[in-house]
Subunit: 221 residues, 3 copies
């Protein structure tokens, strides 16, 4: 299969994404197709596989992988954004609960995952969290409104209180470290809100631009 | 729209990129199409959106996102390279000036952005700068010929003098830290020149290979 | 060539990858096409160029770049995995030997490269190594069964003894630092084995799912 037969000549300016079933494995035997709200937006070059729910008005940037082929299911709330190069994947058989349901990855509403962030299950990210450039969240619960700065790591089963502030490059790998985090400074809080707002315009704007999801009034809704 | 209808069967060996207008938003209401020199080179799986200028003989690697849909415009000079997975994006309403014009991201000539680097506007990167593996440049001015090592961060509005050397993993987040940086050692300077040279062969070589941009002599020029 | 002529309207759910020859340059004048085992698996949105060998049952995730257009050749053994966003590239004219042959990048069997790892030649990665999230291996020899934790860097020509353990975020840039690394703890060893096992199911499962490589019995082999 992987030879130069069937090679397509030419260069194409093309809007393509890949959305598909997870393949059956011993770990995850049931193929599921993602459930993506018609008013969410997938950029060109996004990859979404398996039991993934994406809610209304969430923006998924280019080169984002949402790969629920091992840990599963994934849930991503509304008005959230996964910026360029974000990766979501989960370990098998590891979960956190939300509303009495088990998730490999649960991401709430109005969550921003900035460029290059890695969110690896099991994890639960509550509403209005900001995850900075190239940060790693893995095996952690992130309380509502927390701010994880660029390049930081939150892991080892820690739980962050709501509005926790993780400084740039910090490595929060024990509950002791998590417990002594300060609360989000006002500047960062305002920044996170501004980022979320800008991104929340993208699903309608990009869809409108591409001629989809137009309201009868002619505008995106 | 996001369902399994219209799913394309089969696997395709395909050279595709995505170049398009930014969508109109409250932040950035005017759709602009990128202006890419015919002798620049876009690899398969590149994404370029909005008011972006890319000059002659610049190489853009696979999985590079140049997304001028918020901060804008972006300028990338000639004989530069954006290697695999590099991300360019900018904050709204933040600029640095160059030649009396405001840019979200200005990148000069002969600049190398190595694998996985993130260049986030506002920033101005002068000629012959080297930005290392997975480094972050965000809200900064980088003087000509500077060398930013792997995993380093330069941010918070700092300005680096020409030929500044940022060591691996350093976090330059204040002007005080920027002011005491040493100058680029000779080994790193030679390395940066060698990397730029190798990459500057790619636009013509890849284009030639793909049968485009041939000179009347039959060679790439 | 890079204008809005030829723009393809519509959004496509499409399984495409790019596999091609390296272009001839002064550094690397001979175009070679990758040699990929029919039972390896390339995900959608993978990029493989040049003199690259990928052996049986190796999984290549989305947004992985294996770009042998400068340093070359690359070899990747069987039952290995390159997860989402992994980048392989090599410097020109730099090699390590394996079995009396020179490689820019040699990766053995049962090696895991986790999400966002960068493996940059020259390097040799022996069997059963685990390379963690966003780690960097560049100009290094990694002994069999070693475990490189998330965000760590191994570089500057160091050689790691078999079963070396590199802690999270460590910067192993001298042989002195390499020499005093401990051996892999049992927990990490078990984790690495589990990750490799899960991933080794993917090539057959994904191929089966896509209706390729079926045995006469109807199952993937």
């Amino acid at each position: 299969m992987w030879n130069n037969q069937g090679y397509q000549n030419g260069q194409f300016n093309l809007y393509s994404y890949y959305v598909g079933y997870n393949p059956p494995t011993s770990v995850n035997p049931y193929p599921r197709f993602p459930s993506i709200h018609s008013q969410a937006f997938l950029s060109p070059f996004t990859y979404v596989v398996g039991d993934v729910t994406i809610q209304k008005n969430t923006y998924v940037g280019p080169f984002v992988s949402i790969r629920a082929d091992e840990g599963t299911p994934f849930y991503i709330g509304s008005n959230s954004n996964l910026q360029d190069g974000v990766i979501l994947h989960g370990l098998k058989d590891k979960y956190f609960e939300k509303n009495s349901k088990k998730y490999s990855i649960y991401i709430g509403n109005r969550v921003s995952c900035a460029h290059g962030a890695l969110v690896h299950g099991p994890c639960r990210v509550e509403d209005a969290v900001f995850i900075g450039f190239k940060a790693i969240v893995y095996n952690a619960i992130i309380g509502e409104g927390s701010f994880i700065s660029s390049g930081a790591v939150v892991t080892n089963g820690v739980e962050l209180k709501p509005r926790s502030f993780v400084p740039p490059g910090a490595n929060i790998d024990s509950q002791e470290k998590a417990n002594v985090l300060g609360i989000v400074p006002e500047t960062e809080e305002e920044f996170a809100i501004a980022v979320q707002r800008v991104n929340s315009e993208f699903p309608a704007a990009y869809s409108l631009y591409f001629g989809k999801n137009k309201c009868s009034c002619g505008l995106a809704c």
